[in-house]
Symmetry: C2
Subunit: 225 residues, 2 copies
């Protein structure tokens, strides 16, 4: 099955990483993959635009079926390969509700991280304001505290919704990014524990961003949060 699949991806992008973790968990190794460079603007290349008119990564194909949006791709793969590999959507109403809830809230976390980490890349110089930077940092701090609280209340183990699930697939890459960009282990102990547990999971270790392996030293943009 995986032989019919192909993925255009960019390293360190949480949306790409989510799809790669899902493919590992669903035992869909052996798919074709091609690493593209955001720095060189390869995500805007004709090759990508043919699969994804938004010029964004991931761009995933399963035979003639095209999926470009990371959550959509993960939901599709789980539903099409339910009985293969790890089950990523729990059955019980309680766990399923938390799973969908955290999965979708994970997109707010990613947005708020991006609004701080990539502020200078996404806002033209003449439109930048210290007040906006301050507000974005406050919003991200509030967001991170919510997640610290969610993990505080996790009763059944250390995952976001019972067993390892799509919630972890979607959210973990953003938590990893937060620590890569300098989040304090001391001020966010639950997030740090979660990060430290999941980073050694096989599907995550195998798909770890190659340039993070090559240069383990991260950045300090988030150190004061």
């Amino acid at each position: 099955m995986a032989k019919l699949m192909s993925l255009l991806w960019g390293a360190g992008s949480p949306p790409c990483w989510r799809v790669m973790i899902t493919l590992e968990e669903k035992k869909l190794q052996g798919y074709k993959r091609k690493l593209l460079s955001f720095e060189k603007g390869e995500h805007k290349s004709q090759e990508v635009l043919e699969v994804n008119p938004r010029g964004q990564l991931p761009a995933f194909k399963h035979g003639d079926i095209i999926l470009n949006e990371s959550c959509a791709t993960c939901l599709y793969l789980e539903n099409q390969f339910k009985s293969q590999g790890i089950k990523l959507i729990p059955d019980s109403a309680e766990d399923q509700a938390v799973m969908y809830q955290r999965m979708m809230e994970g997109l707010a976390l990613t947005d708020k991280l991006n609004s701080v980490i990539y502020y200078d890349c996404s806002v033209p110089e003449e439109e930048r304001h210290d007040s906006a930077v301050k507000r974005n940092k406050e919003a991200l701090t509030a967001e991170l505290k919510l997640w610290e609280g969610y993990l505080e209340n996790v009763s059944a183990g250390s995952y976001l919704a019972g067993a390892f699930s799509l919630a972890d697939v979607i959210v973990f890459p953003s938590i990893a990014c937060a620590f890569r960009f300098g989040l304090s282990v001391g001020r966010y102990p639950k997030l740090a524990k979660y990060y430290s547990l999941l980073k050694n999971r096989a599907s995550i270790k195998t798909t770890w961003p190659p340039h993070w392996v090559a240069s383990p030293q991260g950045y300090d943009i988030l150190k004061d949060l």
Copy 2:
């Protein structure tokens, strides 16, 4: 079942509307609901914060289960009540892929609409720039053209992914907002046809924002797009 459900909602909010359409389609009428006012800041009230620490609507409860994120709530309701009412997730791999893809892309449409419609509400006066307004409008125009193209290519009927599905549930309220805020019927004929077909669907008509019924005249913010 619906007797155990309650919804705090705000009128005209696409996320709230999605949940209400889903409840209708799944034959879950009879749930408790309470309309709150965004203008009066009631979405930041203690009543909401107890259910949704983000202070946003919808805030939904099913017994002790809490769901605040609209896509998560719709996915949960469809999966918990699969055989009740209309089936909102198609079985075939092709339709299912398009369904998840459009559903998730719908969130980009909502964001881009909000960045134009609510620019003045969300950006403090001293941080506003004509260049940002122009860029947001261009991004929204490109987004709307994508959707016009998706509907151009819909082969099996007039819905986004085969039969009526969660993709329509998630996306329609934003399309309705776009026309409410002045989108040109002439320049977006496929979107206009889609809007005109779906607005008479029972689940949508029943949940139409009450203040839109009371004042059918909309706004013209998007008229030049």
